[in-house]
Each structure stands twice: as C-alpha cells, then as structure tokens.
C-alpha cells in the first residue's frame, strides 16, 4: 500500500512541478498576507513576536485551504481521477498519496510564511530552527490530511470552495490553538518543555486525521 501512496504522491508533485500554478499562487498568497499583516499592525502598541505565532498558523491554514480546494481540479477536468480510481490501488493509499503531496506543498508554504514574517515583521526566530520545525511538522500533516479529505468532499458540492472552510475550520480549531501557542512560545524564547505537550497533541491530531481520512476515503470517492 505504501508503494502505491508513494507513486501517487510523486505523480501529484510532478504534475504540480510542471504546472506550478497552484504552488506559486499559495506562495504569493503567503508573502502578500505577511506584507498586509505587517502594514496593518500598529507596531508602537503591539510587539510583533506576540502575534507572529498565530499569524503564521493562520496564513498556513488559509493557504492550505485554498490549495486543497483546487487539489483535485486538474484531474477532475481531464477525468483522470476516475481513471485513478480504476487502478488497483487501495483507497487508503490514494488518500495517503494525495495527502502526502499536499503536505509537501503546505510545508513549503510554512517555510515561506516564516520567511515572510521574518522579512516584513523583522522577527529573528530565536533558538534552533529544528524546534520550530518540530511544532510545524505535525500541523502541516494535519492540515494537509484534513484539506485533502474535505477538498474531495466539497468538490462534489455546488457550493464548492465556499463550503470547504465551513467543513474544515471547526475541526481544525484545536490544532490551530496548539500549533499557534507552541510557535508563539518558541518565538518568546520559552523552553521546549513548555511546548512539548502541545506537540504531542498536534501529533495526535495529525495521526488521527490521517487514520480517519484513510478509513473513510472510500465513502467519499466511490459511487
């Protein structure tokens, strides 16, 4: 099954690399959002480090939601997704492969978000970058899995992308809380021990969303 997931993830990333449109739009969105937050904040009253953690996570959330909503568009237009379903790949493998490809894109978005906030808000992320990555990684996986799963669901709806945030945001709020608090604490140079509990909960959400998505994906794609 993992081999199928790997093949599908590589295929999706190859398509993304060739087209680049969705990825570049997500990165542009992140950079512009960082810029807009920077010009909107009253820096005489608000310390950028106090708000950067939640803002980075919000930008990740919006970019990944917008990106996930389009994840199936190219394949749907060409009828390729229907052909993919005819392949002998198990449904969980298809989900895991597409979620993995989305996770790679969201990880790039997270890196761009950090760069944008460092550039526009003048934040120098203290401590090892590995600590920040340790908080972001489970969040990236959780966001990608949830976005992929509900992106496929909302593709069937006449409400389309309008519906996607209504379905995903309520489920992602706990993850956003743990993630943004964890990142904010690291930016305020708090020790890892104050973040470790949040990271464990983030991993629980990430693994839970991957498992639930794998188990339920066949109900989403099968006729």
């Amino acid at each position: 099954m993992l081999r199928w997931a790997w093949l599908i993830a590589v295929k999706d990333l190859r398509i993304e690399f060739r087209a680049r449109g969705r990825f570049l739009a997500m990165i542009a969105f992140v950079l512009l959002a960082g810029f807009l937050f920077a010009v909107s904040l009253d820096r005489t009253r608000v310390d950028a480090r106090d708000v950067a953690g939640p803002l980075v996570w919000l930008v990740m959330l919006f970019a990944s939601t917008a990106g996930a909503g389009r994840a199936f568009d190219a394949e749907d237009e060409a009828g390729a997704f229907r052909h993919l379903l005819l392949a002998p790949a198990p449904r969980p493998a298809i989900f895991l492969g597409k979620a993995a490809a989305n996770a790679a894109l969201v990880a790039a978005v997270a890196a761009a978000a950090f760069a944008a906030f460092a550039l526009f808000l003048g934040i120098r992320a203290p401590g090892a970058l590995a600590s920040h990555a340790g908080v972001l990684l489970p969040g990236v996986i959780g966001l990608a899995a949830t976005g992929t799963f509900f992106g496929r669901i909302s593709a069937h709806s006449s409400l389309g992308d309008t519906l996607l945030p209504v379905l995903t945001f309520p489920l992602l709020v706990p993850m956003m809380f743990f993630g943004s608090t964890g990142t904010a604490r690291l930016l305020m140079e708090r020790p890892w021990s104050e973040v470790a509990g949040f990271v464990r909960l983030l991993w629980a959400f990430a693994v839970g969303s991957m498992a639930a998505g794998s188990l339920l994906f066949r109900h989403v794609v099968d006729d």
Binding site: L159, L163, V166, P170, L171
Partner: protein
C-alpha cells in the same frame, strides 16, 4: 408500523414532553428556591443544562445513525441521522443562546473563549456544514453519504468537548449532579432539573419520531429515481 400510527405515537410523545417542559418552567418560575450566590439568573440553568444534554444526545444519535448508514447503506439510518441532526441544531441553538444570557451575569460577558463553549459552538457549525453539504450535492445518494462522513468526523469532537474542561482552565462550573461525591444541588433544585431534563428528552424523542416518519414518507421508493435540485 403504519404512517398514521407512527404519527400518532410521535405526536403523543412530543405532547407529553412539551407538557413536562411547561411544568418544569412553572417549577422554575414559582417553586424552586433562588440560588444564594447568583440569584435569579441561575434559573437559566434549568433550561441551559437540559438543552445541552439534548444537543449532545441528538448529535450523538446523528453520528451513530450516520455510521450505521455508511456501514449498512440502509435508508432508515440516514433518515434517523437527518432527523437527529436537525434536533441537535435546534436544541444547540437554545443552549448557545441561554448560555451567554447566563454568562453575562455570572461571568460579566456574553461570550468568552472558554474551551467547552468554543468547542460546542464548533460542533454546532459542523452540523450546519452537514446540512449545507447534504443539500448542495446534485446526486442525492452521494449527498447523504458525504453528509454521513461529516457527521462521523464531527462526532470525534464530542469526546474532545468532554475532556477539554480538564485540559484547560475552564470557567464552566463543576458538575453538580454527576459528581463522584453525589449531587451537590439542593433537593428541590435537583427535582426541577431532572423534571426539565426528562421533559426536554421526551420532547426531543417525540420530534425525532415525527421528523423520521416525515422523512421516510417523503422518500421515493427504490423503483423511482432520486434526483433533486441543489440548493
């Protein structure tokens, strides 16, 4: 059971529930003693707690019926799920309105980002999404199946709501009935609360019964094609 007898049973259940809820309101207004620290506003408790219980019962039933629909693909399970989810939205709205009215006096604010409050609102939005999705998919059967998936995933939030009180610092009062050391309520308050709880539960079950019967009666038989215009 025929459609007519199902309707009579549902009406009888709902009417009994409504009568008990009215009796509970009389007890709240004229019989139960006033709580010493919070005063009159504490009486909202006799509506808020039963509404909360009924909301979780309804969403729990909707999730179970949705899981059964995904497993068995039985139309009756889907009809039960949609009926329960509608009840959950209605009683959830009562809970989400009565809670802030009480909170304005008790906490000094209509709304606070208290974990249980926040997650309950999110659960309510999840089931709002359930109906938006269900009514916006052209293929009726697919819409039912996707909505069932949303209900099952949304139900994962219910245990989180329950444990969130212990995860975070909560403003919500400690349990006064299901307390390990026994109920801490005044006996008259406990009787009023249990009456209201019973009334809300029976009223909900009656409405569920009626809505389920109406849903099943409105569905085409297997021989007829099921198509609908998206909302």
């Amino acid at each position: 059971m025929g459609s007519k007898s199902a309707t009579i049973g549902g009406v009888a259940f709902a009417a009994t529930g409504a009568a008990i809820v009215l009796a509970a309101h009389w007890m709240v207004a004229f019989w139960v003693p006033t709580e010493a620290s919070m005063g009159l506003v504490q009486r909202i408790f006799y509506v808020h707690v039963p509404a909360a219980w009924t909301t979780f019962l309804a969403f729990g039933l909707a999730a179970l019926a949705s899981a059964a629909y995904l497993w068995l693909e039985d139309e009756r399970a889907d009809a039960a799920a949609v009926a329960a989810a509608e009840g959950g939205l209605v009683f959830g709205a009562i809970m989400l309105v009565s809670g802030p009215l009480w909170g304005r006096i008790a906490w000094g604010t209509y709304w606070t980002w208290e974990p249980r409050l926040t997650l309950t609102l999110l659960l309510w939005f999840t089931y709002l999404g359930y109906f938006l999705l269900r009514n916006s998919v052209r293929d009726v059967r697919r819409g039912r199946r996707l909505a069932a998936v949303v209900a099952v995933v949304g139900a994962l939030n219910i245990p989180l709501i329950h444990v969130s009180v212990s995860w975070f610092r909560s403003l919500h009062p400690e349990a006064v009935v299901l307390n390990p050391e026994g109920p801490t309520l005044h006996p008259d308050m406990l009787v009023t609360l249990l009456t209201s709880l019973g009334g809300f539960t029976i009223l909900f079950l009656g409405l569920l019964w009626l809505r389920y019967s109406a849903e099943m009666a409105g569905r085409p038989s297997d021989a007829e094609p099921a198509e609908q215009t998206p909302a």
